[in-house]
Symmetry: C2
């Protein structure tokens, strides 16, 4: 029996935990989006779903479900829906519209803009379809699924990610990174990455059968964890004061996990650990 | 007692029926989308929801619900969601992308393209949010709502409206209206207007408590009624052979209503009546 596990081993175990969840979500999505007829529609749908850069929100949804004692399969449709909403949103953010400068860094466009626009329009409702259909697997309660649909709609819609994108337009279009307002950076990271992760964690907890208190703890944990990601990798990452903000968020995030002291929090808490974040 | 009602009176009554439904849907949407903070998000959301040209699909959803004996309020959230999906889709179709010619007729853009793109991205999930929340009104069954969410996702997504838009790109971008393939015109009208109306009618019947047979009759009625609208007002409306196609669809549509002989079909059937269509 191991009484002492060196840091590097613990790190590897945590990375394995997240990698394993990621692989399960990818497998689920690969099955959910086969390249079928009409191929002109499903080929770009398949491509754009997997072309978007990773976000840790879907994996957090699964981890939250497992933390409250749920089974991974119960949160899989929600995790997939969150990934789909993220992919659709990413695609639309990188469309070359006539009134905006090309986003930097410029991403590779495999399909023409019109196709990418429409494809993402198809990806969005598909996320809700997967969720609503997950009731048919029998072991998931319809009320919980409806609650999760409201959560995801709100987080990805006009009071969440879309609001963050509105406010973020100024940031991305400004070349002068040094002059951004820290308050705006914080707001954008909260609305975009923060609320997406908050929603993901809350949905995982709802579907896994967590108590209302556990759901709210995990929602806040997700909010802070998401904001950390947004601040470290977002447009304002080089601003003065961002590092201090991240440290505070890390402390707040860990506090939310205190109520889970009788559970295995090592894996989920590693999402905000400095060493692990840099390895994603 | 009136034993004989002249045509013009019957016409007026039917128009009143549809106008009354339309007014109720508009009132519901006005309440559902208040102009609140963040105003930069909600003002365009409110504007674009009502700026899209009318489609008869949401009203058909209510009419189908009433035909199977349901109460109008039971189908209201679904009707609103269908209107929202239509508005979002219309907005995206009229964005000035770098790779496509400006759509004809050019619509007035009150907001810049980036804002319109994001706003429609917020309108889509909002439709699902309204639907999922409608469970809270207490008298609607969660299983029925989930079924309706699947219906709307499929009809507006990659196998429905989006597929029609893909195929329709060729039609709208061609100036040579006389050379379009009748088969393509039929396919596009089926996918865009047809399946949206089919879904609307089926959802109304599901929410109103219709039998499986009634749901399928109304789904087909909606498909034909929607195709008629698409053919009469769509890009291929001047093609040779379209009028004959419309006449056939009208006959097929009326057949689907035969199973409702003990109910009041006069109002709903007027959706495919030649005189009434032209007055919408």
């Amino acid at each position: 029996l191991l009484c002492y596990r060196p840091l590097v081993v613990r790190m590897a175990q945590k990375q394995n935990y997240w990698a394993n969840i990621e692989a399960d979500i990818q497998t689920h999505l690969q099955k959910a989006i086969p390249i079928r007829t009409p191929v002109s529609v499903f080929e770009p749908m398949h491509y754009l779903t997997f072309a978007a850069p990773r976000t840790t929100a879907p994996a957090l949804c699964i981890a939250a479900c497992e933390l409250v004692g749920g089974d991974r399969t119960e949160a899989m449709a929600a995790a997939a829906a969150i990934q789909l909403m993220h992919a659709a949103s990413y695609t639309h953010q990188h469309l070359p519209l006539t009134d905006r400068p090309r986003p930097k860094p410029t991403i590779e466009h495999k399909f023409n803009p019109n196709i990418e626009l429409l494809t993402a329009d198809g990806i969005m409702p598909f996320g809700f379809e997967l969720l609503a259909e997950s009731m048919d697997s029998g072991h998931i309660n319809a009320d919980r699924i409806l609650r999760v649909i409201v959560e995801i709609s709100q987080a990805t819609g006009s009071r969440g990610v879309v609001d963050g994108q509105f406010r973020g337009l100024d940031l991305t279009q400004s070349d002068n990174e040094g002059s951004s307002d820290l308050g705006v950076i914080e707001y954008v990271s909260k609305k975009k990455d923060g609320e997406l992760h908050a929603c993901a964690a809350a949905c995982g907890a709802i579907l896994g059968g967590g108590s209302e208190e556990e759901i709210e703890n995990l929602r806040k944990y997700g909010l802070y964890a998401g904001m950390i990601q947004g601040l470290l990798y977002g447009v304002g990452r080089n601003e003065k004061g961002v590092k201090e903000m991240v440290e505070k968020l890390r402390t707040s995030a860990m506090k939310e996990l205190e109520n889970f002291k009788y559970r295995e929090i090592e894996a989920i808490s590693s999402l905000v650990e400095a060493e692990l974040i840099s390895s994603f």
